[in-house]
């Protein structure tokens, strides 16, 4: 099922004033797509899911499921969750504590007055799909976090929903389980082919799972794109910092124009920016800007002939195969990832930037 959000806005009122939790969001999600909403805590991700599920009513804007208008403030349309046939998995799993695992999974079917025989078959089908067939007689209190999570997913998929919504479903699992479940979840979604919206604040999860990702900030969509697009071409420093780990280095610089090329000055060296950035640079409002370079695109003691700067290593973090260096060049501090070699603290090294990988952003306040 295809999902369309048009100028979707949600304002919460409270004693202390009002909060725009979702602010003028326009978005189209294709049928069968695995779509991720990514953003820091409090940016309105859960509110957006709730709006899609029908748990909240929009203050403004419309929500379309295929050709059906399910919510519109101006046209006074609002289908309750019951009539939208969406399924949702919560961070807290929200299993019914008084029901057995079987009854938890069967719950949505029972509410819809499904035939007993069919309920039994359906529950057993999804239970074996998620490898929880042995747990059917237990109560949620007696399950581990990972098992509860599977039950929650089973309950969500048992009735073949139009849209599958997941609100940080992995954040209560330990790191190892999280990684393995991520893979299973992706496979499951591929097999079911259900349009899926997945909320997370963890960019690794987002990059690993999403066909496309929308990065949110303060209720607005900052950028939508495939994981690669977000990584290669972040539209602003916020996305640049949010995607990639460790985050991109950002520093202020002025751009100079000299003999048909643009330059920046770092330390006391001039670095030439690639010509394909010219258009971007021309569009800047001032020649002062933010320059970004990812740690993995900084080269230490490069063997090639490119221009290098002198930098001092201030600390060293081994990462196994690679090593993360904190380097200061003049007033600027950088992090760099480089294959493991012998480094000493306070050692002076040659630092090279890959000019092709330099990002140029407007300075934001």
């Amino acid at each position: 099922m295809n999902l369309r959000l048009v100028e979707l806005t949600k304002r919460f009122f409270s004693k202390h004033g009002s909060i725009l939790a979702v602010n003028d969001v326009n978005l189209e999600i294709d049928s069968g797509e695995f779509f991720v909403l990514l953003g820091p805590s409090g940016c309105g991700k859960s509110t957006m899911l709730n709006l899609i599920a029908g748990l909240e009513k929009p203050t403004r804007g419309e929500i379309w499921f295929d050709e059906t208008l399910v919510a519109s403030a101006s046209r006074r349309v609002f289908l309750p969750p019951k009539e939208r046939n969406v399924a949702m998995v919560f961070q807290s799993y929200a299993l019914y504590p008084h029901l057995t695992v079987f009854e938890n999974i069967a719950f949505p079917l029972r509410i819809r007055r499904t035939k007993e025989q069919l309920i039994k078959e359906s529950v057993q089908r999804v239970a074996s799909m998620l490898a929880i067939s042995e747990l059917l007689d237990r109560k949620p209190a007696g399950l581990s976090g990972g098992q509860r999570q599977r039950v929650a997913i089973a309950r969500a998929i048992v009735r073949k929903p139009n849209i599958f919504l997941l609100d940080e479903p992995l954040s209560n699992l330990d790191a190892q389980l999280r990684a393995s479940t991520r893979g299973e979840l992706k496979n499951l979604q591929r097999n079911l082919g259900v349009t899926t919206i997945y909320v997370t604040h963890d960019q690794i999860e987002a990059m690993g799972l999403g066909d496309r990702i929308a990065v949110l900030k303060d209720g607005r969509i900052v950028q939508i794109g495939t994981p690669d697009e977000l990584y290669e071409n972040p539209v602003n420093p916020f996305v640049a910092k949010f995607i990639g780990s460790p985050p991109m280095n950002l520093f202020k610089a002025s751009i100079n124009y000299d003999k048909g090329s643009f330059f920046i000055t770092v330390g006391n060296k001039k670095i030439k920016l690639p010509d394909n950035k010219a258009e971007r640079i021309m569009s800047l409002k001032s020649k002062d800007c933010l320059i970004g370079i990812r740690p993995e695109h900084i080269y230490i003691n490069p063997s090639g002939a490119e221009e290098t700067l002198k930098g001092k290593i201030t600390s060293i973090e081994p990462l196994g195969k690679d090593v993360l260096l904190h380097i200061s060049i003049g007033e600027n501090k950088f992090t760099a990832i480089t294959p493991k070699m012998r480094f000493e603290e306070y050692e002076i090294v040659n630092v090279g930037f890959d000019p092709e990988r330099i990002h140029v952003f407007e300075i934001q306040d």
Partner: protein, 276 residues
């Protein structure tokens, strides 16, 4: 070491005194109900024990003891039932829904529970007279429900507030209507609280005296506390044996409930008065 020993002795003595303090009157009640004469203490040894008092209380048609007991059981059960439902709905809206001023409602209801009964009973009498309900079950059930609601509401709010909001959301998405959320999720999950409230409501209604005294006239609706309070002898002498036998039978329901479900009663009382 000495302090520990000393302490355990004190506690033992305390326990014994506690049991004596609480149970002696009950024992006395049972002894008198079984003896042929109330002055059995002064004539220790000369009194025979029998179930005669019980027999006469239960068999005498003119005493209407059975009628009183039946009235009490029906009125208390009905009051408890309506109280739980109505307080459950109220507690749900107070803990879940976007209701402005809901804390105000909660405190208002708390204030209501502090009203003296006497400031209602005069008007209630006139009101019930005017609609012809005096001496009917309704005359007691409706005021009882209203009277017990505040405590029930407070207890249930403290239980419902602990149920995570996500559970409601999950139920909504699974297709429940507002009613179904209550019936299939909130009430079952808060079952211990619902049960405490039912017990307490039943006990309060069963024990109520002033309304029953004022709003009933005879065995058609009179409850057992009033029946026993007004139980007088025919010939001047108070028939203590009969009264104690009647009392012993009358307290059986509440005593059994208290003994079997003490933990629920304690939970309910605690949550109703101290914050959950």
């Amino acid at each position: 070491m000495i302090e520990e020993k000393f302490k355990s002795v004190i506690i033992w003595i305390g326990c014994v005194l506690l049991v004596v303090f609480c149970l002696t009157p009950f024992l006395y009640m049972i002894l008198i109900s079984l003896s042929s004469s109330p002055d059995f203490l002064t004539k220790l040894g000369q009194i025979e024990f029998s179930f005669k008092n019980y027999y006469s209380v239960l068999s005498s048609k003119s005493l209407h003891f059975i009628d009183y007991l039946r009235n009490s059981l029906i009125i208390s059960a009905a009051s408890a039932f309506f109280c739980v439902i109505i307080a459950g709905l109220g507690a749900y809206s107070i803990t879940r829904l976007a209701l402005p001023g809901k804390m105000l409602i909660l405190f208002f209801v708390l204030a209501v529970s502090m009203f003296p009964q006497i400031s209602l009973v005069g008007y209630l009498f006139k009101f019930m007279s005017s609609i012809g309900w005096i001496n009917t079950y309704f005359a007691l059930i409706f005021p009882y429900v209203a009277w017990i609601l505040p405590l029930s509401l407070w207890i249930l709010v403290s239980y419902f507030a602990q149920i995570p909001r996500d559970l409601d959301k999950a139920a909504l998405i699974d297709g429940c209507t507002g009613w179904q959320i209550l019936r299939k999720v909130i009430f079952p999950v808060a079952a211990p609280g619902i049960f405490s409230v039912s017990l307490l409501s039943f006990i309060f209604a069963f024990n109520e005296f002033m309304f029953a005294l004022m709003l009933t006239i005879d065995y058609h609706s009179r409850t057992i506390p009033v029946g026993i309070a007004l139980f007088q002898g025919l010939h001047g002498e108070i028939p203590w044996g009969n009264i104690m036998a009647g009392s012993a039978i009358a307290v059986i329901p509440v005593v059994l409930l208290t003994i079997i479900f003490q933990s629920y009663i304690i939970q309910g009382l605690t949550r109703g008065s101290i914050k959950g």
